[in-house]
Subunit: 390 residues, 2 copies
Amino acid sequence: MARKPETFREKHNIDVRTRHEVIGIDTDARKVQVRDLEAKKEFWEPYDQLMIATGARPIRPPIDGIDAGGILDVNTLGQGIHFKKVMDESAPKKAVVVGGGYIGLEMAEALKMRGLDVSLVEMAAQVMGTLDPDMGEQVSDALMEDGVHLYRKETVKGFDVDNGQVRGVVTDQRTLPADIVVLGLGVGPNSGLAKDAAIPVGVKDGIKVNELQQTETDGVWSAGDCVQTHHIVSRRPFYVALGTVANKQGRVAGINLGGGYATFPGAVGTAITKYMETECSRTGLSEREIDALGWQYAVGKIDAATLPHYYPGSAPITVKVLAEKGSGKLLGAQIVGGKGSAKRIDVAATALHAGFTLDEMLYLDLSYAPPFAGVWDPMVIAARKALKGI
Amino acid sequence: MARKPETFREKHNIDVRTRHEVIGIDTDARKVQVRDLEAKKEFWEPYDQLMIATGARPIRPPIDGIDAGGILDVNTLGQGIHFKKVMDESAPKKAVVVGGGYIGLEMAEALKMRGLDVSLVEMAAQVMGTLDPDMGEQVSDALMEDGVHLYRKETVKGFDVDNGQVRGVVTDQRTLPADIVVLGLGVGPNSGLAKDAAIPVGVKDGIKVNELQQTETDGVWSAGDCVQTHHIVSRRPFYVALGTVANKQGRVAGINLGGGYATFPGAVGTAITKYMETECSRTGLSEREIDALGWQYAVGKIDAATLPHYYPGSAPITVKVLAEKGSGKLLGAQIVGGKGSAKRIDVAATALHAGFTLDEMLYLDLSYAPPFAGVWDPMVIAARKALKGI
């Protein structure tokens, strides 16, 4: 008989304790207070090095009725399984999604594909607040064209609850009937444990870490959605809760904890999502973010097509490029378009890592053949337009 | 009545003479010898600045019978129209494509889609000679799986011709029956006119130009498929006949000729094509090109998927990364895969422009969401593998 393959845990002699929760950290004595959730007892455990990887927690504003049945979070795997159970058992007809960011859009898409009548409530003027409003408007349009009832510049004030079950979402404008409500209001760092232990936190209470993923407290490391991250373009810390950044930071922390050496250079704020066939992506700084820094910038924006006009399967693509006045340094880029458009943001993300100016963007040797792109990449044409404002 | 819009030619008072051919250049006297193809007379025309944009000409080896009817070039628009006419009028059943490069692959695809029985003869061990053989083999496999009769390591020795019409292709191994034959043997610079005028030429007789697109002869400029190009990675001139490079060089020449100032930094050798659903792309240097420079390199290669395994529509993707020993500097990358794989080469092309090392590749903030990619980009995983050999 074949031997069962050795698990990572066995091979490295890792003591994994499930159903245990860390409830306190004593950074002077280098020990953590642990609660055994099954035996219901607490004890202190010593450490040489401590890694905090507590991730993010969803933002849940203290609105009356928010804990009613049918108001669903989509943060953990368990919540996903619960969501599916609710869908199967109560066969809801009307869904209200609160928040038009990445999670809100993905949930609106999933619920629409399952045949529900979907409303989406967004506080801002447009969905996808990480895009500039002119780009976000294109995504708003895509939602409405697909039959999503979109309510912008509306704030959720409460919930109609009947017998512990949600029946409607009350905004400052109207009441929307709802069999289920999905909360997509973003996440924040789950850093309460660190804060309580006086481990310094920064932006939005993200744990402060250096390039090695060391916190400012001796022997304590952190990585992922619970830390603040260095933004390569703004050269300031920011908060980003994305799997790509978390994974890279985790790798760096692991190498250093294991006695190796690695540094995390920071991120440029790249993100991507889609609603049905409408894709959108962004990297670097948005107009709002540049304004907040007090920097001046030029804009280049172009409506083009993913493929040459004569080639079948072409889709619209709008590319917007932002660059610093004077230096011409690329500051950010955004894409909204049809199938095959959004992933092209990676060229701009790589250019931001390189610190390229618009001039350097112009002559990038990007791949061209009619089934894939036009001779002049829309990103390059947008860069050329932005150059006029430098 | 609306006035007919002014043409570019009218607006800028450009004297365009069609049906005229330049047959000689006197660079000392600064004049060109012109043949009026209609009046059938010749005359000399003076110039202050001369721009040579004669492009490429297809390679046609002096094989017996190569001028027979049914042996088709696909270089000019006129040849394309002629090709279509032959297809419509003689309804050929069997096609032989000679050469397995970009044009050979595209023509094999087009003819297969029109229902012809297609054979392809390639001198080398694999099609797509700009890829490394291990990557090219995957493209060869895709052709054969789709029913293309592929003959590798075979050389065309002649043609069976009957009554002025091709009937077969004779290789060093066999005779392949053919109603039509397509030549896809590559192109070379159409630089005879420049050479005759003693304008210096370099690699493969490509006209030598500097960053401003000036030739080494006073008052003579050149750009596009007739010139040699600076390779940013090898730091040596090379010959590349691609629309993207030609367009960029033309823009630089035009700006300088118009009294402005622009420089062309060179190219990194990016190219892309597909056969049906199998896409391939490359950038930078191949193993053969690195060997020719005498440089040493490490290889990282990974078989992955375009999307996370649980997401529908995922396709296989093989990424190969080449990097310099010691420095870890990225030297090249190649991709072969299914739908949505090949255009990702642009990240590597941009990284080559930036002169990135593998270490710098590892932490690129590339876009991630399940409909678009996995958390770790296959290009980054391949870079991580290559790092082990540095």
